[in-house]
Every structure is written in C-alpha cells, then in structure tokens.
Symmetry: C2
Amino acid sequence: MQRIEFQTDPSRYRHWRLEFDGEIASLIMDVDQSASIFDGVELKLNSYDLGVDIELYDAVQRLRFEHPEVRTVVIKSGKDNVFCAGANIRMLGKATHGHKVNFCKYTNETRLAIEDACENSGQFYLAAVKGSCAGGGYELALAADHIMLIDDRRSTVSLPETPLLGVLPGTGGLTRVTDKRKVRRDRADVFCSTEEGLRGSKAVEWRLVDEVVPNSKWADAVTNRARALADRSDRPRDAKGIKLTPLDRRLNGDSIGYSHVNLDVDRDRGIATLTLRAATDPVPASIAAAHAQGAAFWPLALARELEDAILHLRTNEPTIGLVIFRTEGDSQNVLAHDALLGESDWLMREVRHYLKRVLKRLDVTSRSFIALIEPGTCFTGTLAELVFAADRSLMLIGTREGDNRPAATITLGEANFGFYPMGNGLTRLQTRFLDDKEQIERLQSNIGTPIEAEAADELGLVTATIESYDWDDEVRILFEERSSFSPDALTGMEANLRFAGPETMETRIFGRLTAWQNWIFQRPNAVGPQGALKLYGSGVQANFDPERV
Amino acid sequence: MQRIEFQTDPSRYRHWRLEFDGEIASLIMDVDQSASIFDGVELKLNSYDLGVDIELYDAVQRLRFEHPEVRTVVIKSGKDNVFCAGANIRMLGKATHGHKVNFCKYTNETRLAIEDACENSGQFYLAAVKGSCAGGGYELALAADHIMLIDDRRSTVSLPETPLLGVLPGTGGLTRVTDKRKVRRDRADVFCSTEEGLRGSKAVEWRLVDEVVPNSKWADAVTNRARALADRSDRPRDAKGIKLTPLDRRLNGDSIGYSHVNLDVDRDRGIATLTLRAATDPVPASIAAAHAQGAAFWPLALARELEDAILHLRTNEPTIGLVIFRTEGDSQNVLAHDALLGESDWLMREVRHYLKRVLKRLDVTSRSFIALIEPGTCFTGTLAELVFAADRSLMLIGTREGDNRPAATITLGEANFGFYPMGNGLTRLQTRFLDDKEQIERLQSNIGTPIEAEAADELGLVTATIESYDWDDEVRILFEERSSFSPDALTGMEANLRFAGPETMETRIFGRLTAWQNWIFQRPNAVGPQGALKLYGSGVQANFDPERV
C-alpha cells in the first residue's frame, strides 16, 4: 500500500461537504464510492475507509479553528436511503492486521475529537440520522451530543458487527452504548445482536437515540434542535477564524522536516528521532498578535506538525519500533508561549486542547518512546510534556567535554499541571505520581526553575541520570535491548503501564474494547479462510470453531 | 487433555504445605516437579501449572473457613534458592490458546481471592521472598499485603516475561505494579524489561517490595512482621472453623448433579442448563444452628457447588457457548437464608464474600448467559442475582395452560443491594442502572414483594416478557441465533457490555491486561514456529517480525 497522506483540505474532499449557515454548519457525508484508498474496494452506501475518516478529521479540526462562529455542527448524509453503513467490510477483509488496528485507532481518535469539541469548545454535534445507520455509522452518531432519528419506517440504527461480521463494533460503540448512552446491559446485548437494528420510539425508549421525528416535521425539527444546541454554546460571537494553511513540510528520503519538528528515520536500526524545536521568532506581544500569526503561531504549528509526524510514523513506518524524543531551542520562548496559551481566549483554548489531543495520540501509539535530555535540549513547559509521555527518559549529568553548552535542565511550567490531561483524566505528572498530591505540590513549587540532572532525579522527573562518559554506551545498550524484544509484548506492556490509575470511557475504548477487538481481528473465526470477515459478501456462510476462549 | 478436577484437599496436595502456629499460618510452596497436569512437563524451580494453582486456591479457601484463628498467612518457598519461578514456560508453549486463557483467568481469580481475604476477612498475607521470585512468582507476591525480600545478594524480584518470553506478566503484574504498588511508570518500564530483576534497597526504593532484611535477621523479622499484621485483624479469637467437606457430586454422563445445583450439558446444541435450587430443609433457627450445619449450610454449599460447576464448564466444556440459568424452590427459604447471611458474624461474612467471588467468576466467564424465568422458578434474593448476571433474561407472562403453578415472579432481597458487588465495585443492579440512584431506591422499596412479569418489565429487571404461547418459539429462536454467532465476537462483546461504568484494578486486570495478553498469546511472535514461547529453552533465539501493531 502506498504512503497514506493525512493532510487534506475542503477543496480536496471526495467524501464530505461543509455548508455554513451562520452559527450552524452542516457536515454532509457523501462518500465517493470510487475513491477508496484500497484498489478494487467500492465504498458503497456511505461506507468508509481511512481516507474518508481523514477528511472527517480535517473537517472537525477546521470547524474549531476556522469557524469560531459555528456553534452546532449537523452531521447528515448526502445519500437518499442511507446515513452511513459503517466501515467498509471488503476493505476490512483485505486490510492487514496492522492496517485494521491503525484504522480503528484513528477513527476512535476522530470520534473523540468530536466529543472534545462539545466538551471543551462549545461546538456541539447533532447527528441527524435519516436512512439506515449501521455499525461505524451509528458509532459516528454516538459521538454526537444529540442523535435525532427520522421516523419513516425505514431508518434504523444498528450495530450488526457481531451477528453479521463476527467482530465487535470497535470504534467505541460497545463502550458508548453502556457508558455514554447508559443503555441497560441486557438491552445493549439485544441491540448488538440484532442485525436489522432498532427504529422509532423503541430506539428512544432504549436510549439509543434522543428523539424520533416524523418525516413531515424532520427539516424543521433538525433546525430547531441545532439552534437550541447553539444557544448553549460559549463560543465568541464576533471572532475571526484562523486559516489552517498547508503545512510547511519537506520530505527528504525517509525523513521529514517541518518548521518546528523533524522526524528522522533510521530504518536499519528501526529507530526514529522526533525533534521538537522552540520558536525562533519572538513571542507575540499580545493575544491579538498571536491571532494575527494564524497557523504560524508556534504552539499551533507545533501541534499540527507533531500530529502529522505521529500519524505518518504509525501508518507508514510500521517497523520503526523506537522513537527518540528530542527538543531544541529557547526555554524562555516556550514558557512565554505557554503563558499566552493559558490566557482566556477562544483561540488559546483551541490550541491548548489541540496540543492535548496530539499528546494523547502519543499515549496510544504503539511504539517505545525514549526522551533524551542532553545539553542543548529544551524540555520546558509544553515541550517537557514529552519527558512524561515517554516510556523512559535519560538525562545527562553536567556538561560534555569540548561542548560549551550548559548542563541539561528540565523546566516545569503551568502547562505541565493541567493544560494536557491524558485520556484517564489526569495530567501526565499526576499519572506518574499516582495519588501523591504532596509530590505534585512540591513540583509546582519548582515552576520556572531550570532543574539539573541530580535534582530532576531526586524529584522523580527522569528515569535515569547518566555521566557523560557513560552516555553513548548506555543509550546504545538501551536501544539494542529494546529492539531485541517482541514488538507485540512491548505494545501490550506499554498499553498497560502508560495508563496507571483511573479508567474513563476514553481509556476503556482504547484499553478494553480495542484490545478485545484486536484479539478478534486475529482469530480464524474472523480472518481465517472460513472466517466471517473473509467470507462477507461471498454468499458463503462463515464456519465457526465453536470453542469459547 | 483429560478432565481437570478442581476439588482437592490438603491430604492430596502435591505442591503446597500448610503449617499452623496459632494466629499465623505458613503456606509453603514446594512444587513436585514430576506432578504437572501436562505430560512431559517438569515443574522445576517452583514453577507452576493449573494443578498447582488449584491447590493454592483450595488452601486460600480453607484458611478462611476452616481457620478463623489464622490472622496472617506467610507465603514461603520450600525450596532453597528459589521462591517461585512463575508459570511453567514449557507448559505455556504446549498449551492450547484456550487453556492459556483459562489458566490465566483462574490464577488471576486466585490472587484476587488472596486480596479479598485481607480486605474483607482480616486475614493478611505476607510474602516472605527468599530466593529468586520471577514472573508469576512475583505476581503471587504482589497479591500479598506485604512483601519482604531477603537481602542475600541473590534473591531478586522480576517480571521477565517481556524480555525473556515475548508475552506479558498477565496475572495482574503490570496492573498491580502501577496501581497497587504505585511504581512510577518509567521505573515499571525498566523493571519489566530487566530480565534479572531487582534486589536489595533499590527494590524498596522503587516500591517493588516493602522491606529488605539481612539474612541474619530474616526469620525473626518475618515472624515479627506476621505478628504485626495479625494485630490489625478483626478475626474472632475463639471461633471454631467450618470443615469444607467433600462436595456431594454425581457425574452422570455429561451432566453433574450436586445437592443444590445441576449442570445439564446438551453437547449437540452447545447449551448447558445450570439449575440452582433453594434449600429443602428448614432454615437454621439461629446463627449457632447455621454454624452447626457447617459445609451443609445452604448458601455455603450452593457457593461451592456453583463454583465447581462454573470451573468445570469453563475448562472442560469449551464448546458449550450458551448457559441457561434456572432456579427452583421456596422463595421464603432463600430470603430467610439471606437474612442470616446479613447478620454480623464471621462465618456469615465469609459465606457472603464467597458467594460474591463465585458470582464474579460468572462475570468473567466467556459464555452467554440467559436466565429463564418461568412458573416454578425461584429468582429470589441471592438467586435473583443470576438474572442480573445474565446477558439476557426472559420472563413468561402469567401461567401455562395445564400447569397449576402460579405465575413466575422475581423477588428482590437485601442481598441484591450490596452483598455481591461486581469487580467494578458496583452491585449488579447499580451496574444495570448506571448512575440512576432513584431507580435503585425504587427497586429497594420493592424488597420482599414478588414481582410478576409486567411489573418486572416496567421496573427494568428483565430483558423481555413473553406470552406462554410464544415462549417455546422465542426461546428456541434466541438459542439458535446465539449459537450462530462467532464465539469470539460474543466473548469480546460480553466482556465489554458486562462491565459498564467504573473500572477498578480488578476489572483492569480482566479487561485491559488480559485482553492484551490474549492478543499476544495468538501472535506469531509468541506462538509461531519462531516465536519466543515456542523456542524458549531450545537455545534458539526467537525471530520477531519487527512490525509494530
């Protein structure tokens, strides 16, 4: 499969349309069935593949940044008799295990981005379901704040994965049905076993949708509901959006250079180095000046570039098992940008939550992360978050012979104490020092102070401190050792150790639901020659091994 | 593999010894390497298989019921240089996927039973670690309240699964390290990647053990610590234990009859019927009379029989995908027994928590459960819990023609509102009506009142109510439909839908950790011809596919 490109813009959409009417936007799914990223796959009935979801994610992002005036987004279908048929099954049958896992991860992140828009940005999503809404289609609707279903005797919601395909509704469906919609578990069991789904008042009674509306009143009811949602929004009335201009990105062999990010790939060793740089330009003098920078505003540009690099790495570089985090630049510049981010302003809020979402993508990325903290690095504030997102961090003690740069430091900022909660609802420092509030207070008292290796070690901020004469050997041994381990065991180990403490709907989706789905995605009953995914559409029934495991 | 037997007693132990010294018991692991349940497997170095764990679980149970005087249980090794080497790797390499999954489930339940003894029964476990304590050995120690490690320069604790075997420490290790021991995630990463483990003061500093003690002071320190733990216990000083006598059990072809439980297996249809019967004898007139009944006390006998039936079904009947729950007997008798269980008494407390643990075994059993509530059934109090543990429940409306038994009812009791919390910390009714306190209060106001079908439906207690003339067809269609689904998809679906709401360390172990381990247990990097589990001990290095999924 060719390199998958995550950058797009509305002028290039094949599958979605955006329409604007003041505070209400319509996000219309109208999949071009001939435009799958898989050769020979037809995306019939508004079914989707990763390419469709990349456009959806782009739209969700642009709605937040480019359209502060939009308070309600109505998700609709552009087809007559179908809202969305879910993930394309032929595509799932053809895709490698790795692609399926990456696909589900990305689509889950997109649905969480929709929920984040509501929860943190006052941009509410309304799913206006007309036509059949099945599987991933209903999971898309589940991400909305409010689900309306037309009562036309044909339109249904369903999660037919188990009865039809022998897999799970893996894009959050099972979790959102019980935890978000609070559907009773036995009704959820019936619903998830009923291929044809539910419709009408029963769908409301069972809490699967919020309301059903007769055909004759549909258009008005959707508009009225969209207005009512908009009235709850705290988005600014007269703000001007920020245009998400194309990324400054240069491919250079296996490596990618962005304005503030570099991804250098060493394919032979299976290692990539991800370098994040502080801004070299001065910090904007005011919020207004930050707005004027638009997409060039450093934290926003950084978020977009880092996100693109992570997604590329996940999808296009599956054999890179280890990623080194590095940083460069001026600590004060980072802290000054962070100070702007902390101000009360719609755009600063957007950037903060965007950086949060991008850092969360790291947490669920199945690669080992090692932060290397050396003279010349800049692990400060937002950039220090990489130390706490890493599986391990190594810090060089003092200076290097022949290197006149000062000793490496870590500088904590306000950003590390609340800007970027993980999926478990805790900051990375809270997760690191689970239930130890005194330790968090102790760290807070160090905000703004450069912390050298010995103190960082004593404060528990780094995994190990290393003398300069041992550094190269220690780092080399660690890399070699990590590369010698089973990639699968590392994935499972990291997925467990990174999420200490509380679980949330979000972590349940990535932990419990995804792990079970990944298991099922490998089982002969799904992907074997007689498995349900393989035989779907062939007219031949799957032949299941009846053994319960 | 032959039928696995879960019943044992100390006279038959091959791998453990129990020694008693007043309030302190020693539970000594001394595995007979020639006594594996797998042919050709040698259980060297105190490594274990399911047979070893069945004895451990039996000992843990007997310590609670037969030894109210025991306040501290010291887990020790009977070998010189090893505490416990963990699960036997040859066994894991030979075992089917299904056996591995069942084995891990059972060992997890045993470790949780150890923690339950401390939390709810005032019986504390002390792991006295002398010699190497690796993998499942350390996971056993992690279940204890307190871990002591001898400081002899040789004794270590380790979780070498990832570096050595390409799998996870799947018996709660990853979760307990971060969530129970609160080891920092980066240190946990180092620890779980370090084959040789940690020892001495570093093991204390990293919170992996609670204390290290020099060789010369070891015996005294263990005794003193055991006494200190015992001092915290609320177990009665002068109580007389209850002997767990052999089960009343009759094998009859594929079916099993117990005194209050029947398991009828219909292998052709892949269905089993699990029938629980109320006591036919009168309820003991007092707590003292209940004590006098000993193991024949109905709730205790019921718990033991139900547990044996579930474990048999899981392990020895893998192709039975659907289990019907039925009940019989006198409702008032059940409520009267429940009333005794609710009283303040050490034995009643033990029985209540035992029933809780057995019902939790149902929750993590990968079979579909359907409760059939018909005239003549007795879904009351403790027995009504089966309705709420089921994936679905069907209730017959009114009476049957030619059947003079009254209409079916469900009767709620105090037992349904707190005796039997699930692993998520909520009762089954709380889980069913997530966050709906008013609904729980409404149900509580119905305690003791027989609820007929229509009212049960209106109260949300059953999935569906069915007229008598439709009953047979509806039930048949449901069974046929369920049997046509992918067993794997059902397992994943049920594992998600049964655990709505909060996650705890316990549900994280069964949900997140186990699901990832099951995934890894199927991957070629573990079980393929060049996988780490397959090649372990052969001298040949595993050859990993480097792709990260």
